[in-house]
């Protein structure tokens, strides 16, 4: 069988490394962008300063959740 030359190995390896790098960047970008796109539009003063409306309505803000969160951090 034809032996792969050192140069070809190097080319293959470089391609592989760039591949892993690109996959990693895509994964990380997807996470960050997804969270920002879904989350940022909902953040505003009323979200941060008003308490949740109760139950599982998912409405109004997170003011009461921050009170325990701040001393803990």
């Amino acid at each position: 069988m034809h032996r792969i030359s050192a140069k070809q190995t190097q080319r293959l390896a470089l391609a592989g490394i760039w591949g892993t790098g690109i996959v990693t960047v895509i994964i990380l970008l997807v996470i960050v962008i997804y969270v920002l796109v879904k989350g940022l539009p909902d953040i505003g003063w009323s979200f941060l300063t008003s308490p949740p409306r109760g139950g599982l309505s998912g409405e109004e803000g997170i003011a009461t959740a921050q009170v325990p969160a701040f001393p803990a951090t």
Binding site: T9, A13, L14, T20, G21, T24, V25, L28, I31, V35
Partner: protein, 290 residues
């Protein structure tokens, strides 16, 4: 003169107290966990606990409760191994890229991004996994909340850890090694693969051990995406319940033997991590000697 002596003595005393307190706290935690888990080991029996396949801590009707954690042990092993299979090649490849191959400008953008991602809380990974990955897996088959989803989320979670520590250790290899290899006529890749990576081996091993520890102990993200079924998983599309999220899910309402059994899971988890770490260290030490 006298004052310096006093400062010296007293700071030594303070440091000694700090060290004693931290060791004592660790010991106290270990003793407490062992003490709390003792009733469970005695009532259930070590073998029934470790090898039992039924986990029914709150029995329905007049069944007797069952505390077998074999499915949880299998779940932990599978999800950790799966995550490592994806994360190790990706992480080390990316670390080589950042340390050796990438142009300066790309490095300057990527490096801080990776470090930022180490700090993302695991709930956020769980949330993204739940909303993005679980529906995709549901399309392939099964309930979606599954081992496969857990593996993908965990791999993404430990990837930044592996990348940043591996990159540091690759970068810490003395420049003379690289220059020596290049001067002997080796290509860039031969230098990286045969000289730099073996020299950075212990740091890369440390990054993998850290990532593994994070994967084994991860509770929150797993509760969200892995389905938490107590049955033994038969395929990657089945839900599973690893040990750490198994503890997290039930501590709220557990009492008596059930609570004690949760502590016993904690003991098993702890031993698990100790064994995994020792194996990793042994393997890499032996590799270094060869």
């Amino acid at each position: 003169m006298k004052r310096r002596y006093l400062i010296d003595r007293s700071s030594r005393g303070v440091l000694l107290i700090c060290a004693t307190v931290s060791v004592a706290v660790l010991l106290a935690i270990a003793v407490f966990i062992l003490k709390e888990s003792w009733p469970a080991f005695r009532q259930i029996g070590l073998l029934d606990f470790l090898l039992g396949t039924e986990w029914k801590p709150v029995p329905v009707g007049d069944e007797s409760p069952e505390y077998g954690i074999l499915a949880m042990i299998v779940g932990t092993v599978l999800v950790t191994a799966g995550a490592l299979i994806f994360a190790i090649p990706l992480g080390i490849g990316c670390a080589i890229l950042l340390a050796d191959a990438a142009p300066q400008r790309i490095r300057q953008i990527l490096r801080p991004a990776v470090e930022l991602l180490v700090g993302i809380p695991s709930v956020v990974y769980g949330l993204v996994g739940l909303v993005l990955i679980v529906p995709v897996i549901r399309q392939i088959g099964g309930p979606g909340l599954s081992l496969a989803a857990g593996v993908i989320v965990l791999a993404a979670m430990i990837l930044p850890t592996i990348i940043s520590i591996s990159e540091d250790s690759i970068r810490a290899v003395p420049k003379a090694y690289r220059e020596g290899a290049l001067a002997l006529g080796a290509t860039n890749w031969q230098t990286t693969w045969r000289v730099v990576l073996p020299a950075a081996r212990s740091g890369i091993a440390a990054s993998i051990v850290l990532g593994m520890g994070r994967a084994v102990g991860e509770a929150m993200a797993m509760v969200m995406v892995i389905g938490m079924a107590t049955a033994m998983p038969n395929s990657p599309l089945d839900p599973a319940r690893p040990m750490a999220p198994g503890i997290a899910l039930e501590t709220n309402y557990a009492s008596g033997v059930h609570l004690s059994a949760l502590f016993a899971i904690g003991v098993v988890l702890f031993l698990f991590i100790v064994i995994l770490n020792s194996i990793a260290i042994l393997v890499f030490k032996r590799g270094a000697r060869a």
